[in-house]
């Protein structure tokens, strides 16, 4: 029997997508969790947002969400970035009864583009990441059919060669975001365009991380308490972005003073530079609890 959807004003079913679409995604999510890091193909419906604007993440969220959930949506770490606003408005319109929050600690479900929140995620929270390129091997092999075999055999030799060539040319691996990361000792994933700074948060996380690529039609997962190792050589360890100034001092956020967050570099009208937390919720919380600029 087809379940009769609860209708929202405007005639759309709760969660916008029909139940068949949601069920397919739900089945695929479970398989993705059972095979950590493996990209499960799915048929991927068109959404009223263009491909490339987070339709994969959105389909995951719409398949997961219920009226018990509290949702946070961020882009570049901010709840107010245009992409986040657009997605949140759409979900508010099609999922009546869902609660929204800007606070990471209050959310049961978080959809994000390009950042993992600064506040460590807790058990039973779910993070949904928007993914443009699901496959870490695409940089060395354009054919998907060939990449599937390489992944199945955990044959990442050509990826290692590319990293090695980087080191020979530039003394370091030049990959900045989308750093290839090995999950549970087998599949290497593209963790989406999160900065290197956020890659360590995948390792032994308490929360479930789900990755949705709408245009490429793949779902993958890093379960909680799972090993996630960025690919590196023993003599060239993985390094996160440096926020140290020319004196070797770690920069602080100009608003809350935190020396522990990923900082956005802002070019001011007078040509000077400002650094502030990318994560707006974190910055708000730090500011409220008494942090301040030290300048």
């Amino acid at each position: 029997m087809n379940p009769a959807p609860a209708h929202t004003p405007g005639g759309y079913a709760f969660g916008f997508m029909d139940e068949f679409a949601k069920k397919e995604i739900r089945r695929k999510i479970l398989k993705a969790i059972a095979i950590p890091g493996y990209q499960v193909p799915y048929s991927s419906r068109e959404m009223p947002m263009a491909r490339g604007f987070g339709t994969g993440g959105l389909q995951l969220t719409l398949s997961l969400i219920g009226v018990d959930d509290t949702l946070k949506v961020i882009d570049q770490g901010s709840d107010e970035s245009v992409n986040a606003v657009n997605i949140r408005n759409f979900i508010a319109h099609t999922c009546q009864g869902v609660a929204f929050t800007t606070r990471t600690t209050e959310a049961t479900l978080i959809q994000t583009r390009h950042r993992i929140p600064e506040f460590p995620l807790q058990q039973h929270q779910i993070l949904v990441l928007q993914v443009p390129y699901p496959d870490a091997l695409v940089v060395v092999e354009p054919s998907e059919a060939k990449r599937k075999i390489m992944h199945g055999e955990a044959d990442y030799a050509r990826l290692w060669v590319k990293l090695y060539e980087d080191i020979v040319k530039f003394s370091e691996v030049t990959i900045s975001h989308r750093y290839p990361t090995k999950i549970a000792g087998h599949y290497v994933i593209d963790p989406s365009p999160i900065p290197r700074y956020d890659v360590p948060k995948l390792h032994q996380s308490k929360a479930l991380l789900l990755f949705g690529a709408g245009r490429e039609k793949k779902i993958y997962a890093v379960p909680p308490f799972t090993d996630a190792e960025p690919l590196s050589f023993t003599d060239k360890p993985f390094r996160v972005e440096s926020f140290h100034d020319e004196h070797g001092q770690r920069r602080r956020c100009s608003r809350c003073g935190s020396p522990n967050s990923f900082l956005d570099e802002v070019v001011c009208d007078d040509g000077g530079k400002l650094y502030q937390c990318s994560d707006s919720d974190y910055c708000n919380a730090m500011t409220a609890s008494g942090g301040s600029a030290d300048e």
Partner: protein, 202 residues
């Protein structure tokens, strides 16, 4: 036309799915699957996940005709079906096999739902009444350390066979253990050791 009730409603299916998701991402954690309480957990989970694009093997024929129709899944033999429902109270037949997937498509490995008497966290009440048959120690992705689950009415051969089926990761099968109300998931990525069991009247 009446709205579908109970486990056939969209709202219930979303909740059942979320409980299943919790169980799959935390192997060994027992979740309660209670829609309206009138359907057993196995049917609730199947109702939430299945439609006419997947296949089901009702190995012991425990589903009635109307449930089978509502599930809409195409029937298939156990070695090919996407979803297999089997009674855990009997050991699997010698020729019982399930789909394990392929290297380029490991997701084709089946989901096996095993129905037994009771699933308890460890330590538990049932132990004192001497009805625990098996004790599973589960570790691996999703588990912080080791999680122990005590089962009653689940024959041990299922877990020996599982070990064979999941020996070549990423190929394998993903297990959903259910009693009347509860669910525990053991994905192929989990390591399972059979612990001490209290032998009861077998």
């Amino acid at each position: 036309m009446n709205s579908p009730e109970g486990v056939w409603s969209a709202v219930a299916q979303q909740q059942i799915f979320r409980a299943t998701l919790t169980a799959m991402s935390s192997p060994g954690e027992i979740v309660r699957i209670s829609a309206d309480g009138t359907e057993r957990a196995s049917i609730a989970v199947l109702a939430a996940l299945l439609d006419n694009s997947v296949t089901l093997c009702d190995y012991n024929g425990t589903l009635d005709e109307s449930t089978r129709r509502f599930l809409q899944a195409q029937p298939a033999e156990c070695k090919k079906a996407n979803y297999v429902l089997a009674a855990a109270s009997e050991n699997p037949a010698v020729d019982f096999t399930v789909a394990l997937g392929e290297l380029a498509a490991p997701e084709a490995g089946a989901t096996l739902i095993l129905e037994g008497n009771r699933i308890c966290a460890s330590p538990n009440v049932a132990r004192s009444s001497g009805t625990v048959d098996l004790c599973l120690k589960i570790s691996g992705p999703g588990v912080n350390g080791v999680k122990t689950v005590e089962l009653s009415g689940f024959r041990d051969q299922w877990f020996h066979r599982r070990a064979e089926w999941v020996a070549d990761f990423p190929l394998g099968v993903d297990l959903l253990l259910v009693d009347a109300e509860n669910l525990v998931c053991i994905p192929r990525s989990s390591a399972v050791a059979l612990g001490e069991s209290w032998a009861t009247s077998r």
